[in-house]
């Protein structure tokens, strides 16, 4: 039996007094790929933000266990250091910080949190280059300021680069496919597939079937009105494509 990685039970979340998640249940085991699909405003991004420890989300009841720990009261960095990574739907721009410096800082921070020595500069450079190559990113982009002046596609690729560098146990991809052209979608999905192994899992949040054709999920869930209203296999994505979300409300 696979090891349990994430277990969300009866989760209720308010944002500024408005109920967004309303009794959500979700279980992800190690070495599984799950997809969440749902209409706009269903609570998909709120779910990923709550899992990542964003402040100002009021968890009124329920529990979230990640790697066996209750993470509801943990800080964002503490959750990250447990091995959770979220690829943002809208990555922010950080002026003055080059991608290379940023990757080095977060990689060192993670290794330190896990009691490991940092890589030597040359070791790290080779490590990053290897990951960047998978995503067809050259050295020049590593010298640029983090997301500053990037196209939507470049930002998403940069998110996946961070994912590859940090090598988490659970990666949440919050609409990583939006803003990607066909070729970029191929590169990104190949990168993600390449890192998928028995020691990690993925939660893909998407509106479209396209990414799920490239990274086939074990389970597809439909999120509507703040809870999972239906779960099934990859065929559920076809059903949504044909019928839309209306029939699941």
């Amino acid at each position: 039996m696979s090891k349990e990685l994430l277990n969300i039970k009866d989760l209720h979340v308010d944002v500024e007094g408005k109920k967004i998640l309303n009794g959500l249940n979700l279980k992800i085991n190690m070495n599984e790929i799950h997809a969440i699909m749902g209409p706009n405003g269903a609570g998909k991004s709120v779910l990923s933000n709550v899992l990542s420890g964003k402040e100002n989300y009021n968890v009124t009841s329920g529990s979230i266990k990640f790697c066996g720990k209750d993470i509801i009261n943990l800080l964002s960095n503490e959750i990250s250091n447990l091995g959770l990574f979220m690829a943002f739907q809208y990555p922010v721009e950080i002026p003055g910080v080059t991608i290379m410096n940023f990757l080095k800082t977060i990689h060192e921070s993670k290794r330190k949190a896990n009691g490991n020595e940092p890589f030597s500069p040359s070791e790290f450079l080779n490590y990053v280059r290897e990951k960047a190559e998978i995503l067809d990113l050259d050295d020049e982009i590593l010298k640029r300021q983090l997301n500053v002046g990037f196209s939507g596609g470049e930002k998403k690729r940069n998110e996946v680069l961070q994912l590859l560098v940090l090598d988490p146990v659970l990666a949440i991809l919050d609409e990583t496919d939006s803003g990607l052209d066909v070729d970029a979608l191929d590169i990104v999905s190949n990168g993600i597939k390449g890192m998928n192994n028995k020691n990690n899992s993925f939660l893909i949040i998407t509106h479209y079937k396209k990414l799920l054709e490239k990274i086939p999920p074990n389970k597809v869930h439909i999120l509507a009105d703040g809870k999972i209203v239906k779960s099934g296999g990859p065929e559920l994505a076809d059903e949504i494509e044909n019928k839309g979300f209306e029939s699941f409300n």
């Binding site: 964003k54 964002s76 990250s80 990574f85 990555p91 922010v92 950080i94 910080v97 800082t105 977060i106």
Partner: protein, 377 residues
């Protein structure tokens, strides 16, 4: 007016005959306005008049000015007598800038003029250090001349520790010359530093200003684009200590066509520190194809810190490209969340963000890196 008695200043003025009548006339201009106070001063600047009251000794003393390389075939640094400086050079600031009492005070009463002539290209940075010694009034003046086609770099360190320093620096950039200035202000005293720049055709001034005052500091830069295709930029990182003031005025006159100017500030303000940034661009009606940018970002790390920003553009011609922006506030919460979601704690995230903003102006290999406060190195 002030504790600096006019009698003493006048006595000093009459000691020497050189340009006496002109200097007395300029001194009278100064007396009419007096030291800048909250009533007559520029917008939101600290009250210099009240700060000057703390100066115990109203005699004028020489600042201690030192230079890393004194005399070579590349440059010549010397102390000049007034009579050695032609009147059109000595009084040139008055031709360009009216009603600036601190310039008037310096020109009329200064006994200390240093000249740096840069005659050939410099690979190394020349360091000029300015220090004070006791609660006195200091009126140093420095003239820096960069010859035609020459490229040079200067690190200017202002380490005045006491008294009131009213420093006037003039930069003359001849045709096709390039000057990089790295200014480090770590003064603990009351400081007014006025920089006047004269830019000839195709000359280029690039000034990076790291200002970490521990007292009350005012930096004024007046750039005059006299020749076409001249470029100038002045980017400031301001990190005043607790209870300190850092006033920055950048005043750019684009007097010829095809010139370009950029000015910006990144202010990091904690405790009760205050920064006021004023940037003016003046483009005459006959001047075409100008480009100018002003960019201000202030980060308030405490409830008691204050940032004032005032961009101003006086444009009298349509053939220009100008832009300006100013943002003041605490660090962006979404940016902090983004960094924390990658494993950094809040303090590390804030430090990385602030370092990033500093790095926009003070690059990783810049000499000014060594002078950043410990938290930001």
């Amino acid at each position: 007016m002030i504790n600096l008695t006019l009698d003493n200043l006048e006595k000093n003025l009459k000691k020497e005959d050189t340009y006496k009548s002109e200097r007395i006339s300029i001194f009278e201009d100064f007396v009419k306005v007096g030291l800048p106070s909250s009533k007559v001063d520029r917008w939101k600047y600290f009250d210099l008049s009240s700060k000057a009251k703390k100066v115990k000794n109203t005699n004028i003393k020489d600042s201690i000015i030192s230079i890393s390389e004194k005399k070579s075939d590349k440059l010549n640094f010397y102390t000049a007598q007034k009579k050695d400086i032609a009147p059109d050079i000595y009084f040139r600031p008055k031709e360009f800038i009216k009603n600036e009492p601190m310039i008037d005070l310096n020109i009329s009463c200064s006994n200390q003029v240093s000249v740096l002539d840069i005659k050939s290209d410099q690979e190394e940075i020349t360091t000029i250090t300015i220090e004070s010694d006791g609660e006195n009034l200091y009126l140093p003046r420095i003239l820096i001349n960069v010859d035609k086609g020459i490229s040079a770099k200067i690190l200017l360190k202002n380490l005045s520790s006491s008294g009131l320093t009213n420093l006037l620096i003039e930069y003359s950039l001849e045709k096709d010359s390039n000057l990089e200035i790295y200014r480090f202000n770590n003064s603990e005293s009351t400081l007014v530093e006025t920089n006047i720049v004269y830019l000839k055709e195709r000359s280029n001034l690039d000034l990076i200003n790291l200002s970490t005052p521990k007292g009350s500091s005012r930096f004024q830069l007046f750039s005059h684009h006299l020749g076409s295709f001249s470029l100038s930029s002045c980017n400031t990182v301001s990190i005043p200590s607790n209870n300190s003031n850092d006033d920055i005025l950048i005043d750019n006159s684009l007097m010829s066509s095809d010139c370009e100017n950029k000015s910006g500030i990144r202010a990091i303000l904690d405790s009760k520190s205050i920064c006021s940034f004023q940037s003016l661009i003046d483009i005459k009606d006959s001047v075409i194809r100008s480009k100018a940018e002003q960019d201000c970002k202030g980060f308030l790390l405490s409830d008691d810190s204050v940032m004032n920003a005032k961009p101003q553009m006086n444009i009298f011609n349509d053939d220009v490209i100008c832009k300006h922006g100013a943002t003041i506030g605490s660090l962006d919460k979404q940016e902090i969340f983004y960094l924390c979601s990658r494993g950094l704690n809040k303090k590390e995230a804030e430090k990385l963000l602030l370092n990033g903003h500093i790095s926009e102006y003070i690059k990783e290999n810049s000499i000014l890196r060594d002078y950043l406060p410990g938290d930001f190195r």
